[in-house]
Subunit: 163 residues, 2 copies
Amino acid sequence: MTSPLASNLAKPDPERDLVIEREIDVPVALVWKAWTTPAHLRQWFVPKPWTITACEMDLRPGGIFSTVMRSPEGQEFPNLGCYLDVVPEERLIFTDTLLPGFRPSPNPFFTAALLLASNGSGTRYTAIALHGDAEGRKKHEQMGFYDGWNTVVDQMVDFIKRQ
Amino acid sequence: MTSPLASNLAKPDPERDLVIEREIDVPVALVWKAWTTPAHLRQWFVPKPWTITACEMDLRPGGIFSTVMRSPEGQEFPNLGCYLDVVPEERLIFTDTLLPGFRPSPNPFFTAALLLASNGSGTRYTAIALHGDAEGRKKHEQMGFYDGWNTVVDQMVDFIKRQ
C-alpha cells in the first residue's frame, strides 16, 4: 500500500485498534460486491435476528454510507458516516466521525478499514476499527466487537454462497 | 464540483458553518503554492506577532497536515490533522477530526475547505469551516474566526507579492 494509511493498517496499535483477520473461501470480487451493493449488504451486515432496514452508499471520499439497524423488538438505530478511501477489491475505509461532505459528526466514534487480498480462490479478509484513544477501543470491545464482526463475516460468506 | 462536498460547499449552513469569501489580486497558482509549501505557509498562516515554528504536509487523503503555532510569550500550540481532498489550484480540504491515516482524533473540532477560482489575474478565495453543530460554530466564532482568518489572508497576499 502506498497510502498514508499504510502505517496504521500494516501495524495496528493494540492500545487503540481492534482487528479481525480471516481467511474465507469466497472470492475477493464477491466480497467487494457484498460490501458495496446496498441490497447485498442488507442481507448480512448485522447479526441476526437484527435486520438492516435501510442502506445508502455513495462510494467516493466524502460520500454517504448510512445504515439503519433494527432490533428484534422493532427499535431502529441509524448509523451515518462517509467513505474516506475506496480502492475496488482492495480497500474500503469509512468513518462515523465525519458526516457526508466531511462535516464533523456531533457523535464521533471510529474509523473502519476493510482490507481484501486474493488468496487462491478465497480471500484474506482484514477489518480494523481505529479509535481516538484506548477508551474508545475498550468501549467498542465491550459492545461485542469481536463476536459481532465475526458473526457478520460468517453471514456474509453464507450469503455469497447462496447467490 | 462533482464531489459530495458540493452540497456543503455550494450552500454552507449558517447554523454550523463559518465562511470567508474574498477577491484577492494574486494568481491562483501562487495561492495554491502558499497553502501547500511548508516554508511558504510558515510565513503567513498565523496572525503576527504569533509565528509558525513547524509545519508538515503530506498532500493526499489521510496525509498529515500539522503546524505548531507559537505565541509572542513563547508558548507553543500544536495542531494535528489530515487532508481529505486535494485538487490542485481548486480545492483543499483538511480536518482536525481525523489524525494522519484517518484515525479519529481524541479532540475533534472542525473541517476546513479552501476553494479557489481564477478571476482575471486574481483569485476568488473562499474558506469554509464546517462544524458538527451550532455550538462548534459559535465557539470558533468567539475564538476570533473572522478576524484571524481574514488577517492571515492579508498576510498571505503580502507574502506572495514580496516573493
